[in-house]
């Protein structure tokens, strides 16, 4: 069972109170992007065994989208943080480094 604490309302929400929103921090390519960038935006996704960053929506609660950093193997949650950021915040990255030295995810780690 996965329990994520919503950073907006502070509720420790069960997975069944949330809607999964897939991978976090994708750049939405648009007019002017080349084919490779567009292909990356549309199709290329991380599928890590370990540290992962995701979007979740507190659907049966405050209704807000937020981010979560967790381990896909142990379901350990490193932290949750608001949606208004384009990359994982430093305190979350530091927390992961303390627990999973040598981790990497896309350009981070």
């Amino acid at each position: 069972m996965l329990i994520l604490t919503c950073p907006y309302c502070g509720v420790a929400a069960d997975e069944t109170e949330l809607t999964p929103g897939g991978e976090a921090h994708l750049t939405r390519e648009t007019v002017g992007a080349d084919d490779a960038a567009f292909e990356g935006y549309l199709f290329k996704r991380e599928n890590p065994k370990g540290v992962h960053f995701e979007r979740w929506r507190h659907a049966y609660g405050c209704g807000k989208w937020f981010h979560a950093a967790r381990c896909t193997v142990t379901l350990e949650v490193f932290g949750t943080y608001p949606a208004q950021t384009t990359e994982p915040p430093k305190d979350i990255r530091d927390k992961i480094t303390a627990k999973r030295p040598g981790w990497s995810w896309r350009d981070f780690g």
Binding site: G10, V11, A12, T16, G61
Partner: protein, 177 residues
């Protein structure tokens, strides 16, 4: 009925106004507290005095509760107070149903139906918890020592009543709390 563990009561229509806007704005805070006659709720909390109250729904939404016959006057008061600011106030009373669940085992009944933590250490008077009850969204708060009040969409009120009555059967008492 003696085979029922808690008393489940479907309340008469109640006044509910959704108020959306910037909850950090002093104008909105004043309009809400003046309309409800209670203090402004903290995140995840509700404040009641008598039959009126304010509940924190989300970072940009409050639920104003009041007796059904005060809806129009309360709505007019909020709209006047917030005139020319960016906000939304809507009477949602007809879209909602309200239940009270009374008896020492209300936590046992709720815990069968919701993933929310209803342990006395986590959920107490003053807390306002939005969650789901089986398959539908609800919100509930502890309205007295042995009563919890629950609201849901009216379209699923019969479903919710069925859930509560079934989970409240005396012979199914989990007796955990």
């Amino acid at each position: 009925m003696s085979d029922i563990l808690v008393k489940i009561h479907r309340a008469a229509p109640y006044g509910m106004i959704t108020l959306r806007g910037d909850l950090s704005s002093t104008a909105l805070q004043k309009a809400a507290t003046d309309a409800a006659g209670v203090a402004f709720p903290e995140t995840g909390m509700c404040v009641f005095e008598g039959k009126s109250g304010l509940s924190w729904m989300s970072p940009d939404e409050l639920l104003v509760l009041m007796p059904h016959d005060q809806i129009q006057s309360t709505l007019a008061q909020i709209e006047k107070a917030l005139n020319s600011t960016h906000f939304l106030a809507a009477d949602v009373s007809d879209a909602r149903a309200m239940f009270t669940i009374t008896g020492p085992h209300w936590r046992d009944v709720l815990a069968k139906l919701t993933p929310a933590d209803v342990h006395p250490d986590s959920f107490q008077q003053g807390h306002f918890r939005r969650t789901r009850l089986a398959q539908v969204p609800v919100a509930f708060w502890q309205s007295s020592a042995d009563t919890v009040t629950l609201i849901c969409f009216r379209s699923v009120a019969d479903y919710v009543e069925g859930l509560l009555v079934n989970a409240g059967r005396a012979k199914s008492n989990a007796d955990y709390f």
